[in-house]
Symmetry: C2
Subunit: 439 residues, 2 copies
């Protein structure tokens, strides 16, 4: 057994968790797995954290010192962002080092480029922590479930928005109030865009779908809609109809191409995903043989994310300790599947309109729905605080997205309609398990 030398770049929340976890369990890793992890270099912009963690003797502010150290076997990149993270990956590969990373923004955009660069040098990228924090779903897709063709990957991949939606549902509060509260408590960032507008979940589903479907999918391929428009009325209506509202990231591997999107979704309240509350994450993976599986856990946090990072490190370090090179990961881009245009998809919809309380408004709306081949399954009218205005709630049958987009534009152009306040998809969950083998 030889020691495996680690270079850690980034000493933020996750980086400090990695240092603390290795400090706590170093001796158990030696005893149980024959792996002697040696944190040889650490790197960050300031040395405050390295001081606090007692690793100042390994510290540098220059990442080049880490990737150019010939003794280092594995580089852990935890600084996030595109630069210099990209250069850290590339220089590490050139120096024959494996890279473990939690950088979802970068991997969501450049996984193909980076995977090719790693493969060229015969080294590995491992990124469990980039997709769902501590939940080992990347490993499930890359290894444990590979006997399957992956049909669907879908779930709750952003803790902040799930926390906000859970509280809105439990308390009947508005999005703005819960967000402000979450920001004050440190659960949401001062600039919440990456979370509430869906960017974070989009990066994660791009990574998971690329690995699960073995095709190139980038964050730009993901249709994206956030949760800002969800109101307490929508929450209440959803409950009445037996639904919960969740921000889901969904990727389906269909005969017509990959359907990949992030948006608020009504799902049946008795569905397991509806029971996932607070900041927790949960990812459904449907394989043609295994059928439905779900992986649940913390999607963020210092130690949970460090669990995934150090798990990846251990997977590489185990063969290295025995003087063997790790198996190269399978090339994730064997396929080049088309991305389906969201306009071609079909869904049921929930629609909330704020309208003038005048004769003719119903007739005008009804005509627009009919013109766009939208068949309505339910309609009801509610008072608003304003005596001149009413709320109209519609539920539709299965409808083409393109038709709904046109109808929305036409509804918005009507004088009698003040606002198309909310359009929420009602996900067809049965479609997730289409093509599962019958036993």
């Amino acid at each position: 057994m030889r020691a495996v030398n680690i270079g850690l770049i980034g000493l933020g929340t996750v980086g400090s968790g990695v240092v603390r976890l290795i400090q706590k369990h170093h001796d158990e890793y030696v005893e149980h797995y024959g792996v002697d992890l040696c944190l040889k270099r650490t790197c960050s912009r300031s040395d405050a954290e390295a001081q606090r963690l007692g690793v100042i003797d390994t510290f540098t502010t220059d990442w080049h010192d880490v990737v150019s150290d010939p003794d280092i076997d594995i580089v852990i990149e935890l600084i996030g962002g595109e630069h210099p993270a990209t250069e850290i990956f590339e220089e590490s590969f050139k120096a024959g080092k494996h890279v473990v990373s939690a950088n979802k923004a970068l991997l969501g955009r450049k996984m193909e480029h980076l995977a090719s660069a790693a493969a060229e040098r015969g080294v590995a990228i491992k990124c469990e922590a980039a997709a769902a924090g501590g939940i080992p779903v990347v490993n499930a897709l890359e290894h444990n479930l590979i006997a399957n063709e992956t049909l669907t990957i879908a779930g709750i991949m952003n803790g902040t928005t799930n926390y906000i939606l859970s509280r809105m549902e439990a308390e009947g509060s508005s999005f703005e109030d819960v967000l402000a509260d979450a920001q004050a408590a440190g659960y949401a960032e001062a600039d919440p865009t990456a979370d509430v507008d869906g960017f974070d979940a989009a990066s994660k589903i791009a990574i998971l779908a690329s690995i699960g479907f073995r095709t190139r999918i980038t964050t730009d391929d993901v249709y994206m809609q956030g949760i800002r428009a969800i109101s307490s009325i929508d929450m209440e209506m959803a409950k009445e109809f037996g639904y919960a509202i969740k921000l889901l990231a969904i990727a389906r591997n269909t005969d017509e191409g990959v359907d990949v999107r992030v948006h608020p979704t009504m799902i049946p309240r008795n569905h397991l995903l509806a029971s996932v509350s607070g900041a927790m994450n949960a990812v459904y993976v449907v394989g043609d043989a295994v059928g439905e599986t779900m992986f649940y856990g913390a999607g963020a946090g210092s130690f949970p994310t460090a669990s995934a990072v150090v798990g990846d490190v251990m997977a590489l370090a185990t063969p290295i300790s025995q003087g063997r090179s790790p198996l190269p990961e399978s090339e994730p881009f064997g396929h080049n599947l088309a991305i389906r245009n969201v306009s071609d998809l079909k869904s049921k919809f929930y629609i909330r309109l704020t309208v003038e309380d005048k004769l003719g408004v119903l007739a005008q709306a009804t005509k627009i729905f009919a013109d766009n081949e939208i068949s309505i399954s339910y309609i009801s009218q509610y008072d608003t605080g304003d005596s001149d205005a009413k709320t109209l709630i519609y539920m539709t049958h299965q409808t083409r997205e393109g038709g709904m987009e046109k109808a929305k534009t036409q509804l918005e152009s009507l004088d009698l309609i003040r606002e198309v306040a909310s359009i929420i998809r009602i996900e067809n969950i049965d479609a997730w398990t289409e093509n599962v083998f019958a036993n």
Copy 2:
């Protein structure tokens, strides 16, 4: 790349699923993972299934033909039971072959012996399918979560009993009626003992706890109680108190030793495990770094279980294809932890008594509880169909199991008490996450 030769012993439900899955995906495994699986020998008592599957040219009725074939790299053992399964393992190891198995009964009893025998010959045992069917939880414990110390493994590990309890809860039916129905529909065996009395779940938790805690735990170490005593009254009372009743298998790695047991359990209705219904399985794994995780999926069935078996085969076949031997699995018996006596554990209890409708019965019962240091948090009385008898329902505060056992014996000896009809533990779920690292 060289072909990897498989010998498959057992062509029942799972065995035929394995054949069909390899037939369906052979070419994708070659294309995506560079693994050419060749089903070289199949073995069963009769050739009917081999005929049906189109593998009659590989068929033998003598398992020795499989393990003695020098070309075979991996033996898949799917016959179940202790003999000749044990001999198949041992002869395969002697011949330098790796073994993949779904044999929970055998592995629940003899894992230490078999793991040592495999390690001696430098070959591997893989048993994902033995613990929770298609759910990749063995891999999570052996690989993906190894950066953690595993604190708790707990969940629903038997589909038949979960199906029965789900229907009892939904329909208000009796255990006997649902069991008869399930037997008629093929969801339960003609002899349901292994499922309803907890043996199947006990084998699985013994396997998972051995791997997760790296210690020797056998099925005999598991305290076990089945679901036969659960009545529709208990289901209704549980609902009223905000609980669901599930047959849980629970293993906790505590400072006083391993607490490992299978029994019906009341858990809060808003807990994720309470939402797992029908024949599905779900396993909680709590690690000190990752915190709570849960793995959900089909615990049985031809293709789901085959997914786990072929996943294990692929993990071994990937290095073999590249001319390398698979990494030996880490020795699962590094620890030799004590097993806690169930009498020393503490729990809250739900107790249902059928009593004579006579003065003094309450006073007598109350005295017995007090004598055994059982503090009652709730009591209520209900009519039974019989005008001479009443139902008494108690809920207790945290109570030592030993005290409850004594109280049960004493209650049963009272003339005024017809029956101690039901005693159900109310699991202290917070204890599952004790010792998780604070972030």
